[in-house]
Amino acid sequence: MGKKVLLIEDEPNIIEAVSFILSRDGWEVKTHSNGHDAIMAVRERAPDLIILDVMLPGKSGFDILHEIRADEDHAETPVLMLTARGQLKDREMAERAGASRYMTKPFSNAEVLDAVRSLVPQ
């Protein structure tokens, strides 16, 4: 049984693409597509890794990251942040908020796999 990845993303095509890539690499991929109850999904699924989009309907990815880091069960869970906004200040904000890794869309599939593998030792 592979490790669990929770993908929090609202764009259906991206969900499909990431799920396809990770599943083929042996990951168990769960998805969630809005910001409101993202933290609930995290608690429910208890993933080994969280892939988090910054712009989500209902709540921003940064706020969700704060909530994750505030939750004692998931404070150490690695979080890979994805953003479509490529500005430097977004990267800084992500690092301050406690993101383990930060990636700008569009990404290459290999990059995603590398990042995920390095964040969760197999």
């Binding site: 609202d10 890539i21 083929r24 712009m55 990404f107 599939n109």
Partner: protein
Amino acid sequence: MATLNVLILVCLSYVVFLFAIAFAADRAALHGRGTWLHSPLIYTLSLSIYCTAWTFYGAVGFAARSGLEYLTIYLGPTLVMIGWWWTLRKMVRIGRSQRITSIADLISSRYGKSNTLAVFVTILAVVGTTPYIALQLQSVTLSFATFAEADLTSTSLPNRQSTAFLVAVGLALFTILFGTRNLDVNERHHGVVMAIALEAVVKLFALLAVGVFVVWGLAGGVEQTLERINASEIARWEVPTSRWIGLTMLSAAAFLCLPRMFQVMVVENENEGHLRTAAWAFPAYLMLMSLFVVPIAAVGLDVLPQGSNPDLFVLTLPLNAGRDGLAILSFLGGFSSATSMVIVAAIALSTMVSNHVVMPIWLHLTGGTAVVSGDVRNVALLARRLSIAGIVLLGYLYLQLSGGGTALAAIGLVSFAGVAQFLPALMGGLVWRGATRLGALCGLGVGFAVWMYCLFLPSFGSSSILPQTLFDHGLFGMSWLRPQALFGVEGMDQVVHAVMWSMLLNTASFVFVSLVSFPKPVERLQGAQFVNVFQHSATAGSWSGGLAQSEDLMIMSQRILGAPEAQAFFAAAAQRQGLAGYLPEPSPDFLQELERELSGSVGAATAHAMISQIVGGATVSVEDLMAVADETAQIMEYSNQLEAKSQEQARTARQLREANEKLTQLSVQKDGFLSQISHELRTPMTSIRAFSEILRDTEDLSPEEQSKYSSIIHDEAIRLTRLLDDLLDLSVLENGQVVLNEHKGCLEDLLDRAVAITGGGAGNFAIRREKSAEQVVLLTDLDRLAQVFINLIANARKYCDADRPELTIKTSQKADRLLVDFTDNGSGIPTDQQTVIFEKFSRIGQTKAGGAGLGLAICREIMARLGGGIDYLPGQRGASFRVTLPLNSQNATQ
């Protein structure tokens, strides 16, 4: 026998005595002693310069020729002193409060400090007074000659011309010595006043002595004298009423207007109260002077040989009787009369000449920058001295030129008539606020011209200056312009004729021009100050002691300069004066320095007014106040400018702040916009990249998967293209660069087109329309409008969440506007989102239908360009948008 030598000796002693008296009085005044100097008696006696040699000698001559007519020249002043006491008091008050220095100064001050007027009055005064000075010189010369003729011991007669010249030089010297010893701001000359008061006593005493001798010594008593008078022609001479009234008025006017009378009456006046005494004492003096005139004339005519000059009876009667002592006394009386008149007249005229003619010219030539007072002082003194010498010399020259043949009294009257021309401007200025500078100038000009033409020039004798034909046929051959029969008025006495016409025309033009001309502000102010002088001026305050003044000055200066600065300034000044402490003596130097210091803070005029208020106790004149007002106005203007500037700066700062806020806001908006665009572009690109990599790298993809991922890539590529199109479209619309292609078209066709493009009623999506209302012809950019309709219909198709989605398109007209409502039956847009749906990149809820959120923003821009609008209509069941279009340029059909 009277010896000429004795006379000369007595004369010289008398002059030396006068010098001593004047010197002593000056010294006493300088040291603040001698209160007797300020007694009303001295003032009254000084007024007696009215009685010149003309009255001393001439009155008898007058009486001998014209009987009681001589009384008129005493009657006029008496009437003025008693009846016009109030006017005199007003003149004196004005003179003090305005620091008036001469009659020219008074008239020019009243009419707004007009120097033109001052110069004019000065010239008139000089022309009018010169013959009178000549008259005095002549009388001294004549009386001296009379003595010489009677002196049998002298073998050679003294040269008359040299006598006159010596007398003139002597008088000029005396006047310069005592008239210009110091430049007092108030122009008071204690020494001179004292000397003329003494001379007044001498001449009265001399005339009374001669009178007593004639009545009791020669005639043998009062009764015998009266008999002789009755026997003489004097009693029989009839004086015409017109001449009586004319001469009385003339002498009254002259009494007020003569520069020398103004000098002693107003300028030298120490105390207004003195006028009260003078009001009765001076008429009494005049009465005493005239008491023995008729007896002397009658006895003289009786006793002395036919052809004797009646003008010299006062002298010749004692001489004839062998009373040398009395004769010398009489000579001294005449000498006193002559000298006092010349001295005062020279002082008065020189003040006018130097103040109004020489100084302005000098200041003009030196560029008017004479702030260094020492300079001005010396120049003023020099000007004064030269003027005195010049005026006396002028009198001497006149004497030489006229030959001195005319009867003394005649010259006197001509002179009187000349200065009487001041009267309308003077009196009018005192009582009538409406009098103007122009009026005064015209009145004086006309009066002066008439006087010159009718009296002064003819007085040289017909055909001497004016040709005889002028007298016979008038100017330019016009008979009504004959100098002695103006306007055809013939048979009048020459003097009365000239006085009547000159005064009449003078007054008339003065009043008329004053009425039609408009006074300047200074004139109005001065006018009010003069006319209402009693309301405005208090009697001058007393002089306070030295150090008390310094203390007041110190208090004032501390307020203006600041305490430490003022104390340092005062202490330094005290140290320079060799005094310990903070209070220096208020010496002129110190005051000047202080004034300069203060003027740096409050302006020169204000500083001057403040210091003179404290030190001089003088009232602040209107001129001072005007200057203060000017300065204040300047300061106000300056501070207004500063205020305006600082307001402007505040405005600029506010504008800058606003601009900055706007820029910051724009910058934030730009960041947000860029960030949004980045997001909208990167999202489809992410899918495209991810799936193209999957397609490339994954070998075992099923055909379904291949097809699905390919179509995702295709869809996302289209989404990207649409997004770029929308962005470009919006950018063009927002920058106003869009060009509208207006065409005529029917609304129905347009809606048909939009419905067809969006897929029409395909699927279960129903569109309801009211085609009858859509028969409207529009003139607009039809493609753009269709774009809006397409957007709205597509949105409804995309977002309407009803089970049986339905869109109602309703067309209506309201006023001059066309309304097209697009209402669906979905759940609509939440209230809090209704305001933002037209913003760029706004998307409702979580629906992800691939829109970038630019559609409604573009619609809003298009409708704005078309002159209409698009709004969300709340309160319908579903989402409802209203498109508004103006109708005024379109014609509705059907």
